[in-house]
Symmetry: none
Subunit: 261 residues, 2 copies
């Protein structure tokens, strides 16, 4: 009974939803009754009644000059309520568990806070030798895969600003301290969609991370898989594949629309 097709629905409601979606799809601001009716294969009379019902509730407005209909502010209110209620952490939790289980390594979630990164969640595997990160601690944005995944997807000018005024202090002997090198590393991260690190932030730790992007394309969080570098080195490719698949889905869930090629 979790199946969508078996539960009772109301056709009028589904039609209403389709009408709203038609407005969302349209590249013109206004739509006419017949236009909508034809696209959805419903009678004009019905579309007319639906539009007027939506008008009464603010979802649709009416332009009396052209006698055509357009989306109203209530639509925005509801849409943004969706965003308001999305807690990346809650959303990501089950994914972290799944990733950790599938790879038998630690899965983490980080967010950016000002110009630092902090871990806000992690799931560790049941094995003796495993990675554990410090939740709540601040780390720089230039070292480690989670950090680079966040940094690489910021607008270019913000990256430039950040790197201009930030001193790249080495945290380990593998930390990238050359600005030009880091710049081209970030370009690569953006191109392939994920970042890797072998001991850049923490000696002996390897990781792969990808960003979760919101509806504006901004990175709101980054998710990583990490473990002891000796065994993790061989897992990088598989981890990258798994993690980008999940972060991609999460991004779409919070409204990110991948640009069509």
């Amino acid at each position: 009974m979790a199946d969508t097709s078996t539960v009772q629905t109301i056709t009028a409601v589904e039609r209403t939803a389709e009408v709203l979606k038609a407005f969302a799809r349209a590249d013109t601001q206004t739509l006419g009754v017949t236009e909508v009716a034809q696209e959805l294969g419903i009678s004009k009379a019905v579309v007319h009644r639906i539009l007027n019902s939506l008008r009464a509730t603010g979802f649709i407005e009416f332009d009396s000059a052209s006698r055509r209909y357009l989306l109203g502010p209530t639509a925005l209110d509801v849409g943004l309520a969706f965003l308001r209620h999305v807690d990346v952490r809650d959303l990501a939790r089950p994914v972290l568990k799944e990733l950790s289980q599938q790879t038998d390594e630690t899965a983490t979630l980080s967010i950016r806070s000002d110009w630092q990164r902090i871990y806000i969640d992690q799931v560790t595997p049941e094995r003796e030798l495993k990675m554990t990160v410090a939740l709540g601690r601040s780390f720089p944005l230039y070292a480690g895969s989670s950090s680079k995944a966040l940094l690489a997807f910021l607008p270019q000018h913000e990256i430039d600003e950040y790197l201009e005024r930030t001193e790249l202090r080495p945290l380990t002997d593998r930390t990238i301290t050359d600005v030009d090198l880091l710049h081209s590393e970030l370009v690569e991260v953006r191109a392939r969609g994920y970042a890797t690190s072998l001991g850049e932030r923490q000696s002996g730790a390897g990781s792969v991370a990808a960003p979760i992007l919101d509806h504006t394309g901004h990175p709101v969080a980054s998710m990583s898989l990490c473990g002891p570098v000796e065994r993790f080195r061989d897992e990088v490719d598989r981890a990258a594949e798994l993690i980008t698949e999940r972060t991609g889905r999460l991004s779409r869930q919070i409204g990110y629309l991948p640009e069509q090629s």
Copy 2:
């Protein structure tokens, strides 16, 4: 026949809209069937069917763990379509960025919708203590600088009508609740071209706003700069100067011709 009450509507559609609004209002992410049914005074069975219809179309999702419902990404899609079609927004975006950068405070853009005001865009500065507004939410037209900037530039008879039938409920202890006082405040706003507020709508927030006028002289939007009242108090004059310069230019861009003296 422009009257909303006389045209035919479909109750199921209006109920659907009310259900979605209930989710927008809620401060919890998920809502249960009974919860919604009680709030709207509809039977549980109907709410259940509506929710499942919306589920089939992506507006609503179902959390099988808690057996409760939440807004889905389609809601966001439709909401953002509304924004996509507001062309003032595109025009104003770079200006907001510039203003925010120049002042290191938050720049916002609002439009009027019926007799309310809603924020449709904002750009925030990179600093710890800053103002952030809720996009999509409705606010009254009588409190706060953005609202007063819109209201003051409406035709006088519309202002009068509005103030006659509107109760000036205080949002903070600084809200203007005296009609005569508000009337003379609006005259002043119109005279100098911008509105200010120190905590009228939101305690602890200060702001300056000016309207963007179209070719008929109607205010289509208002732009504001806002921040914590303690530091903003000293920035008011400079902010007013900056903002009126920009809104003036934007108004001319969309066809407004300043009356020649």
